[in-house]
């Protein structure tokens, strides 16, 4: 009996010790962080921006690139394929697929932040970041919609496949998604954008130029409604991007400050956050500046004439025309920032410009044209050129309907104005990726030259309804149950 008792007590004692200490295994294995405060939410939303650029595939696929000829410049598979509108498979740096991944990574950050806000008890202080997360989520989806689904058909059918609109964090290894339609995608973007804009606060950020301030959000809205063809909203949002409607004092000072810079200063200064015209920047992992400095298919001898020849104003643009030895031209807008991950290796980044007042000004001009307010449109165009043409004299150098008709040989004033606006943007935003957006939005054909290996030049064209205008979504999207874009 005594023995049994002793054994029993021991077992009981053991049972007490054995009772699992739950907290014991709750210790974090490393210095990972938890989203448990407003600051942490803010930090998480700060990574809700795509950390890639779209320069390589948009610029190369657009008519901002030309074939310089066999044996000239560097040949790179990625550039060759995008120039001739072939699909690139794989997520190589600077590819469209890499950008797709970056947008969805940004969306995931936004979604995790929104979920944390929903689950946590952070009070009203968190609302500006909720707003930022919503706008950032809308932005990333819009960029995906521009590149990976058909352009929004203003007043027409938008039932073609959109892009998956993700609003919840993914929790399983391979989740399923659906693409929805272009219409549903745009509806979702609009909903997030409008809801988010109301909550934004410009005083919420330590480094405002890298966040959706109100001005940046309005710039996004003006671009978004331009795609949707809601012209008055374009104008209203564009107006909100500069203080007191002063575009002239807030757009890029090309013919003054930038002109007076040395080459090195310009290279460093163009994308610096102190440029007033720049509304939103992101740090984008990119090899654009190093790998595609002198591509065979790029900014060459013909394109440089945009700057070297007089334009619709009758004068030349002041932009710097630099080269690595003709015909390898560069705008020299991007200065690579090399982030060191180890002693001697790291990753190249660009401070990449997402929105400028120059763009919102031209968005407004285009909306004025569409609303029939041609005078106001012309005024905006002249504001735009006033800081780009040397010693701009409105009386002599101002763009007039006559000049437009003469320069572009277009008799329809509306068509002429649109052409003027798009051409101005083409030159201004060369090597900034905006041109492709205009091409898809306006359903413009893309016509480019191509040399055969033996040197015969021919022309290739991408028609307004060519399926290749939509970049291919990753092959791996099939795992999620998506259909690829038709070819």
């Amino acid at each position: 009996m005594n023995r049994n008792k002793r054994a029993l007590f021991t077992l009981l004692g053991l049972a007490v010790l054995v009772t699992s200490c739950k907290k014991y295994l709750d210790v974090n294995p490393d210095n990972r962080t938890q989203i448990n405060s407003v600051e942490k939410v803010a930090q998480l939303v700060a990574s809700a921006y795509p950390d890639r650029d779209y320069l390589t595939f948009t610029e190369t696929a657009s008519d901002n690139a030309e074939d310089k000829g066999p044996g000239i410049g560097d040949v790179n598979d990625l550039v060759t394929k995008y120039y001739t509108w072939q699909d690139v498979v794989g997520d190589e740096t600077n590819s469209a697929e890499a950008y797709w991944n970056a947008c969805y990574a940004a969306i995931a950050s936004a979604n995790q932040a929104l979920k944390s806000i929903e689950e946590g008890d952070f009070g009203d202080d968190v609302l500006p970041y909720k707003g930022e997360a919503l706008v950032a989520r809308a932005y990333a989806h819009h960029m995906l919609a521009i590149f990976f689904s058909k352009a929004y058909n203003i007043g027409g059918d938008n039932s073609s496949p959109g892009i998956p609109y993700v609003t919840e964090p993914e929790t399983v290894l391979l989740a399923k998604y659906t693409r929805g339609t272009v219409a549903s995608t745009y509806d979702n973007i609009e909903k997030d954008l409008e809801e988010g804009m109301k909550l934004l606060s410009s005083s919420a950020y330590k480094v405002p130029k890298y966040h959706f301030t109100l001005a940046a959000a309005h710039a996004f809205a003006s671009r978004f409604y331009l795609f949707k063809g809601e012209w008055q909203k374009v104008i209203d949002n564009a107006n909100a991007t500069v203080p007191n409607g002063d575009f002239a004092g807030n757009i890029r000072p090309i013919s003054t400050t930038f002109k007076n810079m040395s080459i090195a200063e310009f290279n460093a200064g163009f994308s610096k956050s102190d440029v007033k015209a720049t509304l939103l920047l992101c740090n984008a992992y990119s090899g654009y500046q190093r790998l595609y400095g002198t591509p065979r298919y790029g900014y060459g001898e013909t394109l440089k004439d945009m700057f070297n020849e007089p334009n619709v104003t009758g004068k030349r643009l002041e932009n710097k025309v630099l080269n690595y030895g003709p015909p390898n031209y560069t705008t020299y807008k991007w200065k690579e920032y090399f982030y060191y991950a180890t002693e001697s290796t790291g990753f190249p980044y660009l401070p990449f410009i997402l929105f400028t007042t120059d763009e919102t000004l031209m968005n407004r001009a285009e909306a004025y044209v569409e609303l029939g307010k041609q005078d106001l449109a012309l005024k905006d165009i002249n504001t735009f050129y006033s800081v780009r043409v040397q010693a701009f004299n409105p009386a002599v150098d101002g763009v007039t309907p006559q000049k437009i008709m003469a320069f572009y040989s277009i008799s329809d004033p509306k068509e002429g104005l649109i052409k003027t606006i798009l051409e101005a943007k083409k030159a201004e935003f060369l090597q900034e990726g905006i041109r492709w957006m205009d091409l898809v939005r306006r359903h413009l054909p893309v016509v480019k030259n191509l040399y055969s290996p033996t040197g015969e030049e021919s022309t290739i064209e991408l028609g307004p309804d060519d399926p290749r205008r939509v970049f291919q979504i990753p092959q791996t999207a099939k795992l999620a149950g998506l259909e690829l874009n038709p070819r």
């Binding site: 010790l17 991944n101 002693e343």
Partner: protein
Amino acid sequence: MLRLWQIFKKKYKIIGVCLGATLFFFVLPINKRLFVLTNKCNMEKKLTAWVKRAWLIVGFFLITLLASAQQYGAITGTVNNQRGEPLINITVTLKNVTEGTNTQHLTDSVGVFRIEKLNPNDTYSLTAEAIGYSPKTISGYKIKSGKNTNIIITLTEDHNVLTDIVITGYQDVQKKLFTGSSSTLSVDQVERAGLPDITKMLEGQFAGVSLQNVSGTFGAAPKLRIRGATSLSGDNKPLWVIDGIIVEDVVNISNEALSTGDLNTLLGSSVAGVNPSDIQDITILRDAAATALYGARAMNGVVVITTKKGMVTAKPRINYTGNFSTYIKPNYDNYDIMTSSDQMAVLMEVMNKGGYQMPGLINGDGGGVLYKMYQQIALYDSSSGQFGLRNDAATRNAFLNRYANANTDWFDILFKNSLIQEHNISVSSGTENYQTYVSTSYLKDDGMTLGNSVERFTGNFRNNFKIGKKLKGEILSTGSMRRQRAPGTENRVSEPVYGEYLRGFDINPYNFVLNTSRMITPYDQDGNLEYFRQNYAPFNIINELNTNYTQLNVLDFKVQGQLRYTIIPGLNYTLNGAYRFVKSESQTSILENSNKVMSYRAAKDANSIGNNENLYDDPDFPNELPVVVLPEGGFYNTETDNLKYYYFRQDLQYDKVFHNDHTISLYGSMEARSTDREHEHFDGIGYQYENGGLVNSNHLYFKRGQEEGKPYFGMQPGKDRFLAYAATGTYAYKEKYVVKGTVRYDGSNKMGHSTTARWLPTWNFSGRWNVDKENFWPENKVITSMILRGSYGLTANIGDATNSSAVYYNQISRRQYINDQETLTYISDLENSQLTWEKSKDLDIGMDLTMLDNRLNFTVDYYRKNIFDLLGTIQTSGIGGQFEKVGNYGRMSGRGIEFTLGGTAVKTRDFSWTPRFNMAINHNEITVLESNPSVWKGVSAEGGAVLHYPQRAIFSVKYAGLDHYFGYPLFYALDENNELTPNVNLQGDEVGFLKYEGPADPTLTGGFWNQFTYKHFQISGLIKFSAGNVLRLSPAFKSGYGDYNAMSRDVINRWTMPGDEKYTSVPAFIDGVSALQIIDATGSQVSAVYPYNLYNYSDERVVSGDYIKLSNVTFSYIFPERFCEVFKLTNAALSVVANNIWTIYSDKRLNGQDPEFFASGGVALPSSKQVTLSLKLGF
């Protein structure tokens, strides 16, 4: 008459005993008297004591009288082992040959037995038997009447007699109840005198254990695997257990990362602080049944180390071991390196073709003899109007002549025959209730090369005690201290674009010798150090090893304790606890006159300023030239790795035999482990070694660091928490059949916050059939015993993934300007609610035979592993926000067979031969995997994980010959067209078009150990072999050879003119003009760097990894007892040991390089050849 004589003798004896006893009792109080003087009031007690003593004396007299009144004789004997240590509880059987009767006796706690009342007329024989020893019989023994005969029986250890206990770390299981696959060897069989790391003891000795010496530097672990790899991404390392406590690594380095040569590999060995002399034996646990109690940690097998304990001895046993070793320097005969005159001839040829032009060389980042010549030519002394060297052919030739004839023997200059001394002293003593083992050792190794040295102290203190009959306990504390010096090194990084591994400022002496031309001279004509140019600054290897070095200090302290309480007979409760603390700090000193510091200051000419990456281009001043950020002082960088480890375990064990035939053993255990790691680094900038340690750092250094994302200090904590519950039950029937089952439940915090993923149950069952115990088994001498074993169970390992809930980390945004930077939180991994452990279902079938009258043992095991839920990378749609995810979907199968044959083949009075042969074959294949590694990983020396291939498979770019016109190498493109191309994209993942060469790990491993003993001489040798894998030769080919780098002798047979491609596969030297002609299929020009680097990764540069090595030869002389007695020694032995001396067979194309070693630079050095004199003394 006889009787009278006996009485006379008896009286003598009585007198003698009386005298002795009286003396004893009178001498004893002398000590006490001193005490009494200081304590006078104790007089009364003292008197009482004297009275008592007097009574005792009387009593003693009486007893002695009575005892000696008998007519019989007696034997008093001691049973010792070869080392003179007494053996306790040994059965001594006395056979009365005359009468044919047997009596059995046991030795006491000091190894003494006494047999009395023996009839002097009879003949006796004595047999002493002990487990682990050969029995010894002394026959024809006569007893003298009335006399006590003294006898010493020395037993010799017999390693082929199976011990009856298997130590699993958790439990000591009786061998007859053990159902798993394991092998145990005692230290004297595996001892490697002169090699201070105990991992070397595993080399070639255990079937199924593959050990690859990827680096011979002290502290670096070998690549160790038990039954092959089990994971695609995990560390694949077996678990180490010392005295029942799991050993945690200070830094967790995967098996593959062991060969990087990075500084942290010096902390790779979990057991570098263990003194080999403290080891008692080593057990390897292989299958699911053997490792059952380790559950979810045991997928890679377990190494169990048992250290020595104190013994019950009459007087303390003191043992000294001294090892004195020296290195054997390598020499050029074994290496494929051109002599200086041959290389100068090659240089001249290239120069005549327009290579090595003055402007290019004089401004480059590095340069050798030609750089030096041009520099002299350019040197103009304005006062004398003379140039440093006249620029005419004769003067130039005279200048170069010295270097052409130099033929520097870098091995002789950088390698040393230093003395390695190792001293170890241990003391063992104890009583029935308390035993102590104390040891300390000191190691001093002056290093195989300049810039390397090690010192290590260890201490070990182990106490075992017993309180009453029910409570036993143990306290064990061990500590070690290490001071090691190694060349300064940066971590290696992989550069897939060109296909290279890079390491900045690598000054590894071995790599230096392999890569540096013999034209380069360490000293100039005046005997001063001679400098060449590297990294835009002067460089001399001897200076560099003196001015750029790392001092590693490791302090490792562990205390562990055990309490065992017998609750009721058969039911035992055990409590184990341990605490371990390790602090390791590596201090890298880079002095002012080192190349690295001078490179930071190299801003003299425009070219250096433009290209030298150590200068700083301040973004705030875009128009300015780059500036120096280290104007004064050098670097003092520290890296710290700390470990804090707690271990707690309680077990309950119940053993009972019912009705003689039914044995039951039940065991339950609960375990908790907690490991905290810390890794810190600190970059000390501008430490002025020349000015007494002044620090005057330049603020620009920090500004740059902030802008480039290089913080000057950091700390990363790591916290592992682990809980486990296990239960096992064994049932045996009549010693014939044993069945056993185990369940275990493990929990870990490693996978992150999720209450479901962190827990995993594992199980296994096993059985054993002792066939020879069956009635039908014919008693025979050919196969004495036969055992069949089988086990099946689930084992597991926690993988690398930690995202059972979403993982967020912080980051400083990657933006150039400090005012643009902010703290971000980013999602490193999305939640994977399906995350689980990596698992394997293991089957093992084994057979143990003893043959030829117990002289030979044969063990064979066949196993299959069905490994599933392996973590693998998978490319997703990216829509969730993470394009590449890691999930449990991979599968791999493993199978193998292993056998060991050993025993005492020959044994006579003076001669014995003990051979032991083991061999294992292991194959594994990845059966499910979605992602392919990049081409670069596949062709690298470590190999990549590819579906339907072994865990790590080495591939090659397919070499297609040399270009007809220019002699550069061509390859087959990585697509179905098989076009010839000078370039293949290494960053792609089209591994399928590469040529499969073979696995990176050997598929067949084994060893053959032999020991011969003749009288006092003993010789043993270990041959180790390995086969089935392929090796990639170190990348030797470059598009351009400087006037500084070594060249392969193969270069003599290179392509020199069109048509040569038919006879040679050695690419041409590509001159500047020809380099422009390298074009690919699209017609674009390809940089010459690509084809020449690819050549290194082509099938031309792969060799077989098969080898046979003579790892160890030990020749010992054991001094005879007569000799020992003279010096009051209990034992003494002297050995000459040669380690690593001869590679009997390896692929010829390795040109003498060690097939186990990756010459990766940094701190990695090949295993040294060394000769050791080892002295062992016992007092």
